[in-house]
């Protein structure tokens, strides 16, 4: 069963589609008789699919589709344009606006249901490799724990690495119960040689899960010691060898951070639901406007009890929450024992939410044509 929004100004058509989609197709159907209300409903309900008429009095169906594609909450929605305008140019116009499918009225209910079935079962294009920095300008909200667990989940799919780019003696190694005998700080002492691949490769450590770790130096360094050039060299080499790289970012906007963000596939932005963290996330987004399309916001519940709703956070940040990570009581003991939840409690709600996050990270965002 899918949730389907129908936007059409013809009440007979709305009723016909409601009967066909809900009674015959078993879908959950919302109806809307004009484009403005349809857009509002699409943003609040986020249906799996929208069926949009073209000729409507307030805004045309083409404009509705363009606006759906331009909003982060609705850009990935499947859209069918169903119209009485049956010219070849109308089909081109519908697809150019961003619709997945064009169908001409009158339509047979079974044909429409078949097309919906096909559209919803078509997998979106998957990302096969990438760089995923985990970033928050506010410390202490679980970014490292999330980075470690996300990296382990990537490793379950393909050879992956976790890079701890913290300049304040990062904790990724201890989270994985590894001794950071080798770390990227050694590159700064010796300089990056011509034989970068072997130099950098030798600095990584292998976790029993197979995950490679490039650890942070055990002693704090001035933030500017790690430059954008260093980061670029390290990432270039590691990206050639491994499919997925997860970076635990330093909580600062240094040249190194910018170099990481520049190369990133998607940016995992972490916020907790406390006002200070939300404020900090908002200012991060302001400073990094150019990367807005790459953000995947994780709302990490680091305290038990009632939390601020994702809707409120979305309204404040004007960014959809990719996932709300449930409070995980064992997060700290796991960290101290060096046994991340992905390995010690793979059935926990915390891990299943992160698995959902991985699926989202691996799905390519749709671009408006």
């Amino acid at each position: 069963m899918a949730s389907i929004l129908v936007i059409d100004d013809n009440y007979d058509m709305l009723e016909m589609l409601r009967i066909a989609l809900s009674h015959r197709g078993g879908h959950r159907v919302s109806l809307c008789a004009n484009g403005e209300d349809g857009l509002k409903l699409a943003k609040s309900e986020r249906p799996d699919l929208a069926i949009v008429d073209v000729m409507m009095p307030d805004i045309s169906g083409y404009e509705v589709v363009r606006q759906l594609r331009s909003e982060p909450q609705t850009e990935d929605m499947s859209i069918i344009i169903l119209t009485a305008r049956g010219q070849p140019v109308d089909k081109i116009a519908a697809l150019d606006a961003g619709a997945d499918l064009y169908m001409e009225k009158p339509v047979k209910p079974q044909d429409l249901l078949d097309e919906i079935e096909k559209l919803l079962s078509t997998p979106q294009k998957q990302i096969e490799s990438g760089l995923f920095p985990v970033f928050s300008l506010r410390g202490g909200i679980g970014a490292t724990t999330l980075a470690v667990n996300i990296a382990l989940l990537f490793q379950q799919l393909n050879p992956s690495a976790l890079i701890d780019f913290s300049t304040n003696s990062g904790h990724c190694a201890s989270c994985l119960r590894l001794q950071p005998k080798r770390h990227w700080g050694m590159l700064l002492q010796t300089g990056i040689t011509e034989n970068q691949a072997s130099t950098i490769g030798n600095l990584t450590m292998k976790h029993p899960s197979g995950l490679r770790l490039l650890a942070a130096p055990p002693l704090p360094l001035p933030a500017d010691r790690l430059t954008g050039a260093h980061v670029n060299s390290i990432l270039d080499v590691m990206q050639k060898k491994l499919r997925f790289l997860v970076v635990d970012m330093p909580p600062a906007l240094s040249s190194a951070s910018i170099a990481i963000l520049e190369k990133s596939t998607k940016i995992i932005l972490i916020s907790s639901s406390d006002p200070l963290s939300i404020q900090s996330t908002r200012s991060t987004m302001e400073s990094l406007k150019k990367y807005h399309d790459k953000f995947e916001l994780l709302l990490n519940n680091i305290t038990p009890g009632k939390q601020v709703s994702a809707d409120k956070v979305e309204k404040t940040l004007r960014l959809p929450v990719t996932a709300q990570i449930p409070y995980h009581a064992d997060a700290l003991p796991n960290k101290l024992k060096g046994m991340p939840a992905v390995l010690s409690q793979p059935q926990s709600p915390f891990v299943s939410t992160l698995q959902q996050v991985i699926r989202t990270l691996l799905t390519q965002k749709r671009k408006t044509r």
Partner: protein, 171 residues
Amino acid sequence: MSNNNLSQTAADFFSENYRLSSTIDARRRSLGDLLYDQTTSYLTVEGAYISPIDFPSRISGNFPSAVIVKESLTFALTSNQNTVFRRDQKYGQYYAPRLYKIFIALPYFELTGDLLLPGRTTPQILLTSKTEGFLTLLDVTAQVVTRPEITYQGEACIVCKNKVSFVGLLD
């Protein structure tokens, strides 16, 4: 497009620059009856949506009802043949009709389609001696002269004779 009445017929009306998609409440008359009717120079349509011919995805205006000036119309296109025939074209013809494949040059458009004529009438007779203001074509493709990639197609079409500059017989 609102279409609450089952007697309504959907059609696209083309002038030199605009395409108007709408419905007509034809009641017991066809689009052909209404356009060929020489007692009125206008045709009222409902639920009119206007787009520039060379920019089909832009709907520049929509109106609950609109009036079309028949002599300014270049052609009207529908996806249903039955809606374009006049009553006398549908029933009681003594001679079997013939189809002539023709090309018509219109302002901004090139049309190709089949001209349906009663047995003894030829396209020449139709164009030179008949007083009707329109021609009926079947299986029509209309191509925009300046943007050949833009085409409009329909099962049937009614063309304003005053707008025709050239007619080519393809058979």
